[in-house]
């Protein structure tokens, strides 16, 4: 191995710039010497090259720096890197920063950040030291820096106390950095939301090309003291690939398939999982769809019908269908039997908000499509993206068996809720009329 001679400046994250959609740099933070804003020009250049914001490369190389960026909630978080670093490390951290803003201010928007610029600065200061992540657990941060609330500000202004904690957060030193000590509630509650999403691609013939269930269990735990919980499932074998919150004891899961953990306080994501793809995925809705264009004419017919399918006797609600129409479509003149639709002539996106399906009368959307005259008719019909929701059902059949609590004496109130949603649900069910 060679001797590294010069003092290489290995800063993981050197600087951070927040940039809004119109290209204003509205916040900058440097963890070492100041890097001029002009470094962002390389970023703007790349942004110009990319057709849309989604296509701006997350990693850009400039003569002296590397820029790693994420795009979240219409904002770009652009970090300046000087040396080799795993790019995912930075990306993951930037997302964690955005999550923290979301958590603190309720939204991660330009206005929220500007309004709370001091808290933002204090947070960034705590989250990163010398470019290396220091405290990223929201529980710890909240002890160091209190999130803004009306009540606290009033109290602070009267008593002169501040937003900043002056004792070391207990979590940082204990074995369970995610939980603060001395939590007290009058009503002890533990809620779990099992949320499953179906990702699917359905091809022209209506058969499923790809279907997969992705699920998460989000928990809201308000329990006093140091509760030790274990959550077991009726059918844990369904969970094929699981990622855990750090609080979960991996060994217990490996040996007994039980989730055993001392929970963080408040809201957090306990696990996310994928249901093994051996199981057949039930597709709860179907879409009949036809779009036809007459040759040498500037209009076409458009017709979609949605119906329930394998819905396990539950109501499917919150259905939305989004279609990215081809560029030659000028306008659409449609009549829905149910719900309402919008067509944005600029982005060419048709959105149909359907609502619930009642099996008696299947919702449909029919009408005319106006095309740019003279332009060739679209060669390929667009694919549909469908969103829906089914309450009280986990489509994989996953069921929580029981929740036990050890370590504390009180009896908590427990609740589990199931929801199934469409994830990336894409239907290519189109035939081209001739």
């Amino acid at each position: 191995m060679e001797e590294v001679t010069a003092a290489t400046q290995r800063k993981m994250i050197h600087s951070l710039f927040l940039i809004n959609c119109s290209g204003d740099i509205f916040l900058e933070k440097h963890w070492k010497s100041v890097v001029s804003q002009s470094v962002c020009d390389y970023f703007f250049e790349a942004q110009e090259k990319a057709a849309d914001v989604e296509n701006v490369p997350p990693v850009i190389s400039t003569p002296h720096h590397y820029l790693i960026s994420i795009y979240r909630d219409k904002l770009f978080f652009v970090s300046v890197i000087q040396t080799e670093v795993p790019p995912l490390f930075v990306i993951e951290f930037l997302h964690r920063v955005a999550d923290t803003f979301q958590d603190y201010f309720g939204e991660c928007s330009e206005a929220a950040i500007k309004d709370n610029v001091v808290i933002v600065y204090e947070l960034l200061e705590e989250m990163l030291d010398n470019g290396f992540p220091l405290a990223t657990e929201s529980n710890i941060l909240k002890e160091l820096i209190k999130p803004p609330t009306i009540l606290r500000s009033v109290v602070n202004s009267i008593t002169g106390s501040s937003n900043v904690g002056d004792t070391l957060p207990t979590g940082q030193l204990s074995n369970i950095p995610w939980r603060r000590a001395g939590v007290k509630y009058t009503n002890n509650e533990a809620y779990f939301d099992v949320v499953e999403e179906i990702d699917a691609i359905i091809d022209k013939s209506g058969s499923t090309v790809f279907a997969e269930i992705q699920g998460v269990i989000d928990a809201c735990i308000k329990l006093s003291g140091m509760p030790d919980l274990s959550l077991s499932f009726m059918n844990p074998r369904l969970l094929d690939d699981v990622s855990f919150h750090p609080c979960i004891r991996f060994k217990r899961w490996e040996s007994e398939r039980v989730l055993s953990f001392i929970p963080p306080d408040g809201n957090f994501r306990l696990i996310s999982y994928r249901v093994s793809s051996q199981n057949l995925v039930a597709i709860p809705v179907y879409v009949k769809h036809s779009i036809s264009f007459k040759e040498n004419s500037s209009c076409g017919r458009f017709d979609i019908t949605i119906g329930p399918k394998q819905n396990m006797g539950k109501t499917i609600e919150g259905i939305t269908v989004t279609v990215h129409m081809p560029k030659v479509v000028l306008n659409m003149n449609l009549t829905p039997t149910q719900g309402s639709y919008t067509f944005d002539p600029v982005t060419k996106v048709l959105t149909w908000d359907v609502g619930k399906i009642t099996p008696q009368k299947l919702p449909s959307l029919k009408g005319l499509v106006n095309l740019q005259s003279g332009a060739p008719k679209p060669e390929e019909n667009p694919s549909l993206n469908i969103q829906f929701k089914i309450q009280q059902l986990a489509i994989s059949g996953l069921k929580v068996n029981r929740l036990d609590m050890y370590g504390e004496k009180y009896k908590p109130f427990k609740g589990v809720k199931y929801v199934t949603k469409a994830g990336k649900f894409q239907d290519n069910q189109y035939q081209l009329g001739s």
Partner: protein, 1127 residues
């Protein structure tokens, strides 16, 4: 949101009346904080005043405004003197904001900054660890060279602090000091060495980070801490995990021997035996203490010793033997190597993508190849995350999938592109799909590609076309099909698509110097319509290169382009010149004048490149007195055999960069990238990692005995703060629970050494393996519904007519030659096809459809019932969709709804002398012939020797049956396995196909008897069509039976699952809840097979099968009945 801004304003509004007005404005304007940003000299004055006031609230408010200015990038340096005074403020929030300010401006105002130092020095002694830590943080962030000695002292003290939090900050400070003054390196290394021994999980990540920055080459510092780091890893915070894993990967590559040696037979590995010199090692010289080993490491050390002995023993034995024999010596993994691999595995379950990626790269770079497979699942899981994470992960998968296809093959479908993916993600997915393409899945993939080509995202469509080109070159079975598909695309409406196709076809034709005159002719015609320069240039080059094959067209093309020369793009002009030169050399009679005309035009072109080229060509080809010896060779120069371009993945060989790094992403070496060294040929002395208890005891005296007994408690890693044994009751309770499990396992592992580790893992691994196999099988089977359409032909004729119309324009001589060569080509092609077919099946040429018939674009369209002549019609149909006539038909083969993972034993390892074989029906159209059922055979070598030359020997097939055997396998490594595919035409019967599976030495007779359900291909049809077809298949063609079963068996999903499990049928959408319909066709004859399950009242149902093939119909009925009635 609004409440926040309100809150903020309220709070600051409590201050002086002077700024009330300003605050009020910020309440009103929606982006209120903007008020803070307006830096104005006057305002700065009032900020100074506020800072000097004696009210904390005013100071706080001023500081907040200043921080706002800093955030906006405004200069606030002139306030330095006013701010720095407040560094000793009692109010912790003011203090913090002053720190923020100091860190930002200290470098600029060094003298003034020194005023604050004493405050920090005092704070470093504060009883509150938070204050100590933050003082250290700020002190070390002030980049003023003069305070280096003070910083050094502070870091030294902090590194011995009782609070691990302060020690963590000390580790961070090391890096800061190092970058400020590299001269301090040696002293800093000492501190790093000390901190590396720290047992707190809090410190581990930070100190390794400091190590990586200051002295990444001092691998020797890691030895003693290696095992501890491995054991602590699970409990380190996630960011630290990433850093430690990357460092340990580098470490492992220097300290252990390659676990891949048996697979890699690189000549670069003459591998001297890893002789363990034991005491002779240099690192051991450093430690001549008597070695006491902590209980944890005792066993592994013993293991080492035992192993060493064994090795030595073995070695001495080997001494006399041939060198070649050494290869066979079993490789034993260093237990420390194993420890790392084992302890990182749980982290694949981390929620942090960076951690998962770090583990993945560790497995990739240091785990045995057979174990690296477990990372695929976790990486695929990451694809659900944000686009940035996807981007990086896909890049890494792309690199991996080139080298080890098998790893990601089971997840093929996870890489299918969605229309909503950003283009960069789409292109990466496409790259991976291409890498994963093989003989077995290519038909599925080509179908998928045909959807992509039609994408509205043209950049993506173009990339897909390139991909098809790459598949064509890498998978010879489909190269003709791909070429045909691409030719079809030439008539696409979109110019970008056409242009890309031209470019790719050019490359393909160059690679297969076969007779493709027709395609070239067709492309020549395109020249009239296409405008994209690259495409035009490609066509011209192609014609020039093959000018002797198209002797009549080439001069005409030259004539046309001569006319348009002046208006062409430079790229095209150069190619026109080239074409002229080539024609001049081969056919000067016809083209002499034309070429001279073009050369004259080129002589006066505006572009100097073109003028140069013109001059060069003229000298070379036109004989004159000055032309030297070279012109004799002009023909050789211009018409030399050009090497075919290699269509390669941009990710090829990218893994010389450590995966997951920035350098890998950029594919260039980033500053500060640490090279991953090659495996050493001889492992350095492993005993350097042994930890002596003496040293430990010194360090851990306060920790007491209990600590020593199990220093590897992971879940609750101890921190010194909690040494006062009075742990909270709940803690200790749960701790004991989790520990007992852990300890038990650890002990077991350690005692039995390697074998136990393996068995420990085996619990989960075979299962995962099974899962993988099953998902793979599912992933393979995907067809599409549009194999066959009659309407397609209609649309094709319309297209062909347009093709003809374009040819009308051509000169008469041209069209004449065309018709002539057309027939010529036809016959040529027929003979070619025949050659191919003799091997596979002797289908009568009932319909004269040609693969390369360009003039009317008639790709083979296969009506279901008709026998077809082509090599692999189903594959051609795959690309048929590329032709723009996407229309539906009554009967079309669709994707299998479900592919059961069930395998059947073909040859048991006992009877096969160690060779085991299993077969499995992947339910996909067979690429060897459309009447064949595809069968996948997995061969396993369970012996400890190579099995060579595995092939199919004699076949004993009943009348009419056909079989396409797999290519002989040269050799199968011990414990190796390989999957091959075969096609068998069972003639729609369940008769057994018997053949011999032979190796070099033996022949084993084996049989494949297909379940009747596998003789079918699913068909997609509408309910109406189903009823119509069913009506025609009544009477004799109908068989039915009643089924009685429990009502829960009649849930629609249950019925569906059961039926598709048994038979490869397609689901027909049903309007009625109580009737389920399924449709399929038989593979050989294409007869329809309609299955209906009608639920009756009570717990009965009627099962009806309609088919012409009454025999299999009734067999299927018999098989389905018990399945449906079972519980």
């Amino acid at each position: 949101m609004s409440s926040n801004s309100f809150a903020y304003n309220e709070q600051s509004g409590g201050g002086e009346a002077t700024e009330l007005g300003q605050e009020a404005t910020s309440t009103i304007s929606p982006s209120g904080a903007f008020g803070l940003f307006s830096s104005d000299m006057k305002k700065n004055e009032d900020l100074k005043q506020m800072l000097e006031s004696n009210k904390d609230s005013a100071k706080l408010d001023a500081m907040k405004r200043i921080v706002g200015m800093i955030a906006k990038g405004k200069n606030a340096s002139e306030l330095f003197p006013a701010v720095v005074k407040n560094v000793a403020s009692k109010n912790i929030e003011i203090k913090k904001l002053v720190y923020v300010y100091l860190v930002r401006y200290a470098e600029e105002q060094q003298d003034l900054a020194l005023l604050s130092i004493s405050t920090f020095q005092r704070a470093l002694k504060d009883p509150n660890q938070l204050i100590r830590a933050s003082a250290l943080r700020v002190l070390s962030s002030i980049r003023v060279p003069i305070i280096v000695p003070i910083m050094m002292l502070a870091i030294k003290e902090a590194s011995a602090d009782l609070s691990p939090y302060v020690r963590k900050n000390a580790a961070h400070a090391i890096q800061k000091l190092y970058s400020l003054d590299p001269e301090q390196k040696e002293m800093l290394i000492e501190i790093i060495e000390k901190l590396l021994k720290d047992k707190s999980t809090l410190v581990a990540g930070s100190v390794v980070m400091a190590f990586e920055e200051v002295c990444p080459d001092r691998i020797d510092l890691i030895h003693k801490n290696y095992r501890k780091l491995c054991n602590l890893l699970v409990d380190v915070e996630e960011w630290g995990q990433v850093v430690i894993i990357h460092m340990l990967t580098r470490y492992a590559r220097t300290q252990f021997v390659s676990p891949w040696r048996e697979v890699d037979s690189l000549p670069a590995e003459p591998q001297g035996k890893p002789k363990n010199t034991g005491m002779g090692s240099l690192s051991l010289l450093q430690r001549i203490f008597p070695i006491y080993i902590s209980s944890r490491n005792y066993v592994s050390f013993l293991g080492d010793v035992l192993e060493d002995n064994e090795k030595d023993f073995y070695d001495s034995d080997e001494e006399q033997k041939e060198k070649a024999d050494k290869r066979k010596r079993p490789y034993a993994m260093d237990p420390d190597h194993r420890l790392l691999i084992r302890n990182t595995k749980p982290l694949l379950q981390s929620r942090n993508a960076a951690v998962v990626m770090a583990v993945a790269q560790l497995y990739w770079h240091i785990a045995p190849k057979s174990e690296a497979g477990i990372i695929s699942k976790s990486l695929v899981r990451l694809l659900r995350s944000s686009r940035e994470v996807q981007y990086i992960v896909l890049q890494n998968i792309a690199t991996m999938s080139i080298q080890r296809k098998g790893m990601f093959e089971p997840y093929l479908k996870s890489f299918y592109v969605r229309s909503t993916d950003p283009t960069m993600i789409k292109i990466l997915k496409l790259e991976i799909l291409t890498n994963l393409a093989n003989e077995a899945n290519i038909s599925t993939l080509l179908r998928e590609f045909q959807t992509y080509v039609k994408s509205q995202d043209k950049q993506f469509a173009a990339a897909t076309i390139q991909t098809i080109g790459r598949c064509a070159t890498s998978i010879t079975e489909v190269s003709d099909t791909c070429l045909n598909g691409l030719v079809c695309l030439l008539s696409n409406r979109d110019e970008i698509v056409v242009a890309e196709s031209v470019v790719v076809i050019k490359k393909l034709l160059q690679m297969q110097p076969m007779q493709h005159g027709e395609i070239i002719k067709h492309m020549a015609k395109l020249l009239d319509s296409i405008t994209v320069p690259v495409a035009r240039a490609s066509i011209l080059w192609l014609i020039g290169e093959n000018c002797e094959r198209v002797p009549k067209i080439a001069p005409d093309v030259l004539r046309k382009t001569a006319k348009s020369f002046t208006s062409e793009d430079d790229l095209v002009k150069l190619q026109i010149l080239n074409l002229g030169a080539k024609l001049y050399l081969t056919n000067s009679k016809q083209t002499k004048l034309l070429t001279q005309y073009i050369l004259n035009l080129g002589k006066y072109d505006q572009n100097y490149d073109i003028r140069d080229r013109t001059r060069f060509i003229r000298q070379l080809i036109v004989p004159n007195e000055k032309s030297g010896a070279l012109s004799k060779y002009a023909k050789k120069i211009f018409l030399a055999q050009k090497p075919a371009p290699l269509l390669e993945s941009p990710f090829k060989d990218r893994d010389h960069f450590q995966l997951g790094t920035l350098s890998h992403t950029l594919n260039t070496k980033a500053t500060g990238y640490l090279e991953l060294s090659n495996w050493p040929e001889v492992a350095p002395d492993p005993s350097v990692r042994n930890v002596e208890v003496i040293e430990l005891a010194k360090e851990w005296t306060p920790a007491g005995k209990a600590k020593k007994e199990n220093p590897d408690k992971k879940f609750y890693s101890e921190s010194e703060e909690e040494e006062d044994s009075s742990e909270s009751s709940s803690d200790s309770e749960s701790e004991s629970g989790s520990e007992s499990g852990e300890d038990g396992e650890d002990e077991e592992d350690d005692h039995s050494g390697d074998s136990a580790e393996d068995s420990g893992e085996s619990g989960s691994e075979p299962e995962a393996g099974k899962g993988r196999a099953a998902t793979r099988s599912r992933a393979r089977g995907r067809g599409d519904s549009k194999d066959v359409d009659k309407e397609k032909e209609n649309s094709k004729t319309s297209e062909s007519s347009s093709g003809e119309s374009s040819s009308i324009e051509e000169s008469s001589s041209d069209s004449e030659s065309e018709s002539e060569s057309e027939s010529e080509s036809e016959s040529r092609k027929v003979t070619k096809e025949k050659k191919k077919k003799t091997k596979q099946e002797r289908n009568p040429l009932t319909k004269d459809v040609s693969l390369l018939d360009l003039d009317d674009f008639n790709l083979v369209s296969t009506p279901v019932a008709l026998p077809t002549p082509a090599l692999s019609p189903s594959l051609i149909a795959d690309l048929e969709g590329l032709n723009l006539s996407a229309t539906s038909s009554v009967i079309s083969v669709s994707t299998p709804v479900f592919v059961p993972g069930k395998t059947h034993v073909l040859l048991h390892r006992m009877s096969g002398k160690g060779l085991a074989a299993h077969y499995f029906f992947p339910r996909q159209p067979c690429i060897f012939g459309d009447k064949m059922v595809s069968v996948q055979i997995t061969l396993n070598n369970t012996t400890d020797q190579k099995i060579e030359n595995i092939h199919v020997g004699g076949k004993k097939l009943p009348m009419g049956m056909q079989m396409h055997v797999f290519n002989p396998i040269e050799s199968l490594e011990p414990a190796g396995s390989i999957t091959v595919s075969m096609g068998i035409d069972f003639c729609d019967s369940t008769q057994t196909a018997s053949f011999q599976l032979c190796t070099k030495d033996d022949c084993f007779s084996v049989n494949i008897q297909p379940p009747v359900g596998e003789l079918l291909l699913p068909v997609a049809m509408s309910e109406k069509d189903f009823k119509k077809e069913q009506g025609m298949l009544s009477g004799m063609n109908e068989t039915s039976t009643m089924i009685i079963a429990a009502p829960q068996n009649f849930a629609s999903s249950v019925i569906l699952q059961k039926i598709v499990n048994v038979a490869n049928v397609g689901v027909v959408p049903s309007g009625q809840d109580n009737i389920h319909r399924f449709a399929a066709k038989t593979v050989h004859s294409g007869s329809l097979m309609l299955v209906t399950v009608e639920l009756k009242e009570g717990s009965t149902a009627q099962l009806i099968i309609n088919t012409e093939k009454t025999v299999i119909g009734s067999v299927l009925l018999r098989e389905l009945k018990p399945v449906l009635s079972q519980g």
